[in-house]
């Protein structure tokens, strides 16, 4: 079996617990995933399971050939996860029922090849990108409100140090949130509800795995 699945971020809402508390949740559709390929120590040098998610008919012939033992027309996203526990077969379907209510999970966005990470912010200034304070708003300031300020000294050292924080592209990177509580699992719809937010836009492809750092009680 596996400890991780690919899924899609659906959006956020809130649900009530038995105690009557309103819990903010992110809804994730985590399946069906299909086993696309099994990598073995002998052939590939390591053990892993390649999962496929999101049915698609628009595949190239090589892609079709790769997925010929999978019982659907095609799969849009492929991603490798470590193999754990009992063995799986190619074409086997996996769903939300590998997760249980009350468990903790890690959610990663931007891990699957060809999918987006966190929301892209474009070319962002230092105030937004690095949390600089900017300049004073008043006292005769002009054009300095969001300026980065000095980026170094004069002829000693005579250059700008490497790694100086400056304006540039922000967002659309891989990001992982650790230890989110699984509030509910709806196996018939392949949906899980995790407590709190998950980075990235709605519809983004995420990888959900059982929490690696969850403390054993």
């Amino acid at each position: 079996m596996v400890d991780a699945l690919m899924g899609r971020k659906i959006g956020m809402t809130q649900v009530f617990s038995e105690a009557g508390e309103a819990i903010p949740v992110t809804v994730l559709e985590v399946g069906p995933n299909y086993v696309a390929q099994i990598k073995t120590q002998e052939r590939d040098g390591y053990e892993a399971i390649q999962l496929g998610f999101s049915e698609s008919k628009k595949l190239s012939r090589p892609e079709r050939g790769h997925l010929k033992n999978v019982p659907v027309a095609g799969l849009r996203h492929l991603h490798e996860v470590p193999a754990t526990g009992e063995p799986v077969e190619i074409g086997q379907q996996l769903g939300a029922d590998i997760f249980a209510k009350g468990e903790k999970v890690d959610v990663t966005i931007g891990a699957v090849k060809g999918t987006a990470g966190t929301k892209g912010k474009g070319f962002a200034g230092t105030v937004k990108r690095h949390g600089f304070a900017g300049g004073p708003k008043t006292h005769g300031q002009s054009d300095r409100h969001r300026a980065p300020g000095s980026i170094g000294a004069s002829s000693t050292p005579g250059r700008v140090f490497k790694g100086m924080r400056m304006a540039g592209h922000l967002g659309n990177v891989r990001a992982t949130v650790l230890n989110l509580d699984v509030v509910d699992v709806l196996p018939e719809r392949n949906v899980i509800l995790v407590k709190g937010g998950v980075p990235g836009a709605k519809g983004g492809i995420v990888v959900v795995r059982k929490a690696v750092k969850a403390r054993k009680k």
Binding site: T13, Q14, F16, G20, V27, E29, L186
Partner: protein, 115 residues
Amino acid sequence: MGMILESIRQQQLKEDVPDIFPGDTVRVHVRVVEGNRERIQVFEGTVIKITKSGPDRNFTVRRVTHNVGVERTFLINSPRVEKIDVVRRGDVRRARLFYLRDRVGKSARIKEKRV
């Protein structure tokens, strides 16, 4: 995609929620947990606003006790709200009755709605 989210939201809703409107006088029966005992507390007052929809839908009730205005906001669909009784329907012209906060005595009254 939107359908999955909407169906989860629908499941959170209660079935027997009475229609309440701003200006109504209501009695809200709230479950209060004290230590390990649970009891029902009643809060009576005027509905001054209703916001949002679906499971987040909430309303604020204002009452004046001992010359102090008290406002409590409840999630309509929360399991902690046991029951809502409408005592009286009010006839008001706006959705947010914040003007009541600045008024005391006779001018803070609300006309009863004639059906």
